[in-house]
């Protein structure tokens, strides 16, 4: 019988789904992914997780809890680092241990360590000594092969995602608009850059449908995920007077913000942060301080937690979009 491995639909699953699926399937396991976040899942997570953790981590606990009695093992990878010289978040480094400590009667947890801080070579060579082989019942060689297949699947998906995004001619949209009339405000097509972790933006329940709300207002939303990471990393270092941040997501967001600010590809930026997110408290501050020095690019920071209401977000978002629209049609 094939082994049923549960994958919680939370945190880095949103970014690394192709890799995770390919990896588990190459190891001969059947993957079961938890449903989209809903109220019940979040409430389970809230009950299990410590109060101080951030919203996505709490939701992740809920996803793990939902899966725990349906599967033979839970896949909670220990994401330490996905590139040289940078981390992701300390909470991800302890995530499998947190789940193990808080989830009663949990199935065995596959806490495969993903640590590319010292380079891919030393990571792959460290694989065979992990417990992952034992739980999945595969030989070390097969595990290494599965990791290779997973990396390839992920790279293919990353390429596809970036190609899909053809930068719209927002510069074109800007021309041809005369004076400010009520009609012209709503005719102006807007592009808004949405900053935030993929695991918040892709999760409509946690982000309170931020992206779809923007689209309903006739706004084209772009996120940092629409660009190749290498490109954003180059932008992050461009003319930087600060030391480089050591969180991969932080590099991505600071790079995207700088790119948008300097190229004018977008008309405004929305930054979605979750309350209690450690790296974001610093990254958002860096982005906001830079934005304040270049006031041509409007920025709004929206902070969500388990008490956030949709109405509060909707009004602020509408007000922001109206302001940006007004400013643009005046120009």
């Amino acid at each position: 019988m094939t082994m049923r491995v549960g994958v919680p639909r939370g945190l880095l699953y949103h970014e690394y789904a192709p890799a995770i699926h390919t990896f588990l399937e190459s190891c001969g396991a059947e993957t079961v992914v938890s449903p989209q976040t809903n109220r019940e899942i979040l409430e389970k997570g809230l009950a299990l997780c410590v109060d101080d953790a951030c919203l996505p981590v709490k939701a992740f606990f809920g996803h793990a809890a939902v899966l725990s009695d349906q599967v033979d093992a839970l896949f909670v990878a220990r994401f330490v680092s996905v590139e040289r010289g940078a981390y992701i978040c300390p909470k991800f480094m302890g995530l499998p241990d947190m789940i193990r400590a808080r989830l009663q009667n949990a199935p065995p947890i596959i806490d495969m360590c993903v640590d590319i801080r010292q380079g891919l070579g030393s990571y792959v060579s460290s694989l065979p000594c992990s417990d992952t082989c034992k739980i999945l019942g595969v030989a070390p060689r097969r595990l290494s092969w599965a990791v290779g297949a997973a990396l390839m699947a992920q790279r293919k998906e990353d390429r596809r995602r970036v190609k899909r995004f053809a930068p719209s001619g927002s510069a074109v949209a800007r021309t041809g608009l005369g004076g400010y009339t009520r009609e012209s405000i709503y005719e102006t097509s807007l592009t808004i850059g949405v900053l935030g972790h993929a695991y918040n933006l892709d999760d409509a329940y946690l982000s309170l449908g931020l992206i779809s709300k923007l689209e309903k207002m006739g706004v084209k939303a772009v996120t940092a995920e629409d660009y190749a990471y290498d490109n954003l990393r180059r932008w992050e270092r461009r003319g930087a007077d600060r030391k480089q941040v050591f969180w991969t997501a932080g590099r991505k967001l600071i790079g995207a913000a700088r790119r948008w600010r300097e190229t004018g590809e977008v008309d405004g930026m929305v930054h979605l942060t979750s309350f209690g997110c450690g790296p974001e408290s610093f990254v958002a501050e860096v982005i906001a301080r830079d934005a304040a020095r270049h006031p041509a690019m409007p920025l709004i920071i929206l902070n969500v937690d388990e008490h956030s209401g949709e109405a509060g977000m909707a009004t602020r978002l509408e007000a922001f979009v109206d302001t940006v629209r007004m400013g643009k049609s005046k120009r």
Binding site: C49, D52, P90, G94, G276, C277, S281, E285
Partner: protein, 402 residues
């Protein structure tokens, strides 16, 4: 040039000795108060961790007393501490303060900053002076660790309330004035005698870790515990280093526990931290105290900051027969959130109560008092030990009659 640095407990004493020794004028910031915290909380990002807020408060207050250059530690993550320097620089420059921030980075981190720091060190003095000043500062650093460990081990038994703290405060003031290594050692010996004259010193060295051996290597003979059938309630204090070491931020947690009648053990010390995180990071062939081995299987990977230490020390204390552990962390501290999630499990499986407390700029004395009292009460009940260290005697005896 007037150099200053954010406070961390009594660390200003060795820092001041060091920089005065190499001919650089030092302005220690005024002691951290509620006002310092309030200034920092106003300027720092809302959900940043508490140490950032307090250090910014310290910097503003130091600028007001004339400082123009700051020393700050850097880092390469994943803890936010490594990025403090950039936000501090941004915040201070946006305020219009023309100050210089010299960042002490690990050598493999940012080479340019390391060079800048080395230049600052040798700007007024030769390499030999730097070494001499370093030796004196190191001795003072161990000195403050001895004083603090001593106070924690003795407070529960003081005959007159506040006697131990008075003795230690006097010792620290003399330590600050001491100008040679021999003076420092004499001051410490005097302080130990002084504390002994007003209290019973419980066993200090129970844990096998690097910090302990540094303190006991030099002063072990002085610190031997008194023989006898004393068995005070022993409570450990673990957590993020800043809130553990800074009494102004943790509301004198160790002192509060001591006054209630518990003998306190705080495994994180300055000398131990410098040894494990600075010296042994460079000198790789020396063995490091392996906290991860203690923390496994509860926590299987380093998580930055003091997350592994919090879990590891708790396990270690549970197995050495401690009655309980208080775990403190600043709000939103990422490594400590991991530790906080895991500690209830440690508590359950190792059979020792652990209480996690989160500290932020709104934490107030009274809330902490009641929780600590209740916790110690439960521990006393559970272990059958009495909380009548002489200092808390009257009150607790009445309670037990009832």
């Amino acid at each position: 040039m007037k150099v200053s640095f954010p406070h961390l407990g009594n660390l200003w004493i060795p820092l001041k000795a060091f920089f005065s020794g190499i001919g650089i004028e030092v302005v220690a910031p005024p002691p951290t108060t509620r006002k310092t915290v309030a200034i920092g909380a106003q300027l720092a990002p809302e959900t940043a961790c508490l140490p950032l807020k307090v250090t910014i408060g310290n910097m503003i207050e130091a600028i007001n007393s004339g400082a123009d250059t700051f020393l700050m530690v850097g880092g390469i993550g994943p803890c936010r501490l490594g990025y403090y320097c950039e936000l501090q620089r941004d915040i201070l420059s946006d305020l219009g303060d023309d100050v210089d921030l010299v960042v002490i980075e690990p050598p493999r981190g940012h080479f340019r900053n390391t060079v800048r720091f080395a230049r600052l060190l040798t700007s007024r003095a030769g390499v030999r002076d730097v070494v001499e000043a370093g030796k004196l500062a190191w001795e003072k650093c161990i000195g403050i660790d001895v004083c603090e460990q001593l106070a924690n081990a003795a407070r529960w038994s003081e005959a007159e309330r506040g006697a131990v703290d008075r003795a230690v405060r006097k010792g620290l003031a003399e330590l600050d004035r001491a100008s040679t290594i021999r003076d420092v050692q004499a001051v410490i010996a005097n302080t130990v005698e002084h504390v002994r004259s007003c209290a019973v010193v419980g066993p200090i060295c129970q844990l096998d870790s690097c910090a302990r051996s540094l303190v006991t290597d030099r002063y072990g003979a002085l610190l031997r515990s008194e023989e006898g059938d004393l068995s005070p309630l022993s409570v450990g204090v673990v957590g993020e280093i800043y809130v553990v070491m800074e009494p102004a931020v943790n509301m004198n947690l160790c002192k509060k526990l001591g006054t209630i009648g518990a003998q306190v053990m705080q495994p994180i010390t300055f000398s131990g931290w410098i040894m494990t995180h600075v010296v042994l990071d460079i000198v790789k062939f020396m063995p490091k105290p392996d906290m991860l081995a203690w923390a496994t299987p509860y926590l299987g990977h380093f998580v930055g900051g003091h997350g592994v230490e919090s879990v590891g020390h708790s396990v270690q204390m549970a197995r050495s027969g401690f009655d309980g552990v208080v775990h403190i962390s600043p709000l939103t501290c990422m490594p400590e959130i991991v530790a906080q999630s895991i500690l209830p499990r440690v508590s359950e499986e190792e059979g020792m109560p652990i209480m996690s407390l989160t500290i932020d700029e709104h934490t107030a004395d009274a809330g902490l008092d009641t929780r600590l009292e209740a916790f110690c009460d439960l521990l006393a009940e559970r272990s059958g030990k009495r909380l009548d260290g002489i200092s808390g005697a009257g009150r607790w005896k009445d309670m037990q009659v009832l």
